[in-house]
């Protein structure tokens, strides 16, 4: 096949990307600079007012910072829980592999709304956790687990754990087992083999897992909306409020764009800091 004909094979994917990815992005970008309208999505002309409103008000910036903190803490929590799980799942001698894969993937098999309501049953003031602890006499009043940042982080950690585990597992499975044997023959004990050899070699998977979870947590809507309620709002929740409740499309677009820029910058800095020279 000639060069030109092979290019034709890219056409379906190209069209798909332009229609469903490029056009919406450009449209959000343009909307952010539009003037809000009365009874219509946009008024006439373009403005920077949407951004001056966001940057001039600590309410929105603080909310964006809090959203990124939720993303960062969720990433850290999934990493701490997921790393040992991923290492175990990557063992070539693992039995019942299919069952364990199923368990790891299970948070994704339940609908997002049902899963979030499930967490309200567990975390609420009269939820399973608080009632049990009170029943045992360990606490007097209910622990604040719902309608706060902690609750959101707990629920997000649960959903996004597979996105941390799977890339790390793939990276660990890709490590040549004789590399660990070589380290042992050179005198390294198991903890040293993990610290000096296996963890660094799992870094590509750790890096992609962290970026995936952070980006997903940053942009998640349903879980923060249901668990955070009216008290804790993430930027994504405020964007939807602006779009649907108050019908300020340009302001919502500007807010979404601001979060994208902050999140994108964080990802770039993270990728830069964790760059692997040997790759």
């Amino acid at each position: 096949m000639t060069q030109r004909k092979t290019f034709l094979l890219l056409l379906p994917a190209g069209v798909l990307l332009v229609v469903f990815l490029a056009i919406p992005y450009v449209s959000v970008f343009i909307s952010a600079f539009r003037v809000p309208g009365q009874g219509t999505p946009y008024g006439d002309g373009y403005t920077l007012a949407n951004f001056t409103r966001i940057l001039g008000d600590w309410f929105y910036l603080g909310q964006a910072v809090n959203t990124m903190l939720i993303g960062a803490v969720t990433t850290l929590a999934t990493l701490v829980i997921g790393l040992p799980v991923a290492f175990q799942l990557a063992r070539p001698d693992l039995k019942l592999r299919g069952l364990f894969y199923g368990i790891v993937l299970s948070p994704l098999l339940v609908g997002i709304v049902i899963r979030s309501y499930g967490w309200t049953i567990l975390l609420g003031n009269n939820g399973v956790i608080n009632r049990t602890l009170r029943g045992w006499g360990w606490i007097d009043g209910p622990l604040p687990l719902m309608y706060n940042t902690l609750g959101i982080v707990i629920a997000l950690t649960h959903v996004f754990l597979p996105f941390m585990i799977l890339p790390i597992m793939a990276a660990v499975q890709g490590i040549d087992p004789s590399v660990a044997s070589a380290a042992r023959s050179l005198g390294a004990r198991r903890p040293t083999v993990i610290r000096r050899v296996l963890l660094p070699l799992a870094m590509p998977g750790i890096q992609s897992g962290c970026i995936l979870v952070f980006v997903l947590a940053l942009s998640s809507y349903v879980t923060p909306a249901l668990i955070g309620g009216l008290r804790v709002k993430t930027t994504a929740v405020t964007v939807v409020d602006a779009m649907i409740d108050t019908f300020q499309w340009p302001f919502g677009a500007a807010l979404a764009l601001t979060l994208s820029v902050l999140g994108g910058a964080s990802v770039l800095i993270f990728a830069r800091l964790t760059r692997m020279k040997w790759k």
């Binding site: 040549d176 590399v179 023959s185 040997w278």
Partner: protein, 348 residues
Amino acid sequence: MTEVRLNRLTKIYAGGKPAVDAISLDIPTGQFVSLLGPSGCGKTTTLKMLAGFEDVTSGDITFDGQDVVRVPAEDRDIGMVFQNYALFPHMTVHQNLAFGLEMRKIARPEIQRRVQATLEMVQLDHLADRYPAQLSGGQQQRVAIGRALTIEPRILLLDEPLANLDAKLREEMRVFIRDLQKRVGITTIYVTHDQAEAMTMSDIVVVMFDGHIAQAGAPRDIYETPKTAKVAGFVGQVNLIEAHVDPDHPGHAATPFGPVPVTAPGVGETVTLALRPEAIDIAPAGAPGTPATIERVQYSGAIVDYTLRFADGTAMEVKTIPRHPFAIGDAVSLSVDLARFRQLEREY
């Protein structure tokens, strides 16, 4: 320097027949020993037990009389070179070489000195800051050997280290490894399925089949006086001749070349004789010898291989320098020094 001794060493994997079946072997200090055999013969399993990566089912391994079977791999003080090199991809050449010394809590300046010495020894000092992915196969191989040697181990184990290199580089590395081993004087055990590697590099070749040692000895002994047809065939081309004991010459077997002295069997019984293809002289028809016809000619420059057939239908391989331009169908005359025949042990 370390003397290695295997005593009835056995490995049985769950529910299988023994992968290594009660092998015993003494390896004197400083010797280069090859474990040679087809895949599945137990040579790699033996090496893994020596390294401590594989549990021993029964039997002993001793280094200088000290039992090491229960010593974990990280305490055995062994230099190991893996088939795929197993370099640390995230470390530079220098860091790869320093790793084993860091594990031994050696002081920084001393590590520097020894890594530098090793870099020079394996001729890689100009590549110290490269990562393994930036090196060629042969360079990676030299890093692997250097990394195994920096720790000044008691013994050096190599698991098919040349299998992934191209033919030319493989020959260079054979010489390199052998020279290095002689210079360092370290007891070395080398696993390979390539008879040319085993023969050219080793002091002792240990031929293994089915978890057993079929024969161990100097390369020349293995080649010239193989005990069995399997050993004879594994270390080189061989003509196997099933011969009856000659009723006219007691104690001799009848061959197309005449009666060959053999031991033991009585008249009418058969013996198996081995004759290397290069032991046979080939001359134009009419010369003294046994007449035969050329069936196939494989000319490869320095040598030529003939397949011939005697009048009685017996086929024979002959390897010689290309002296005469014989062609297929030519009648020729074959002769051999009868002392070149080897009587083989029966295999049951």
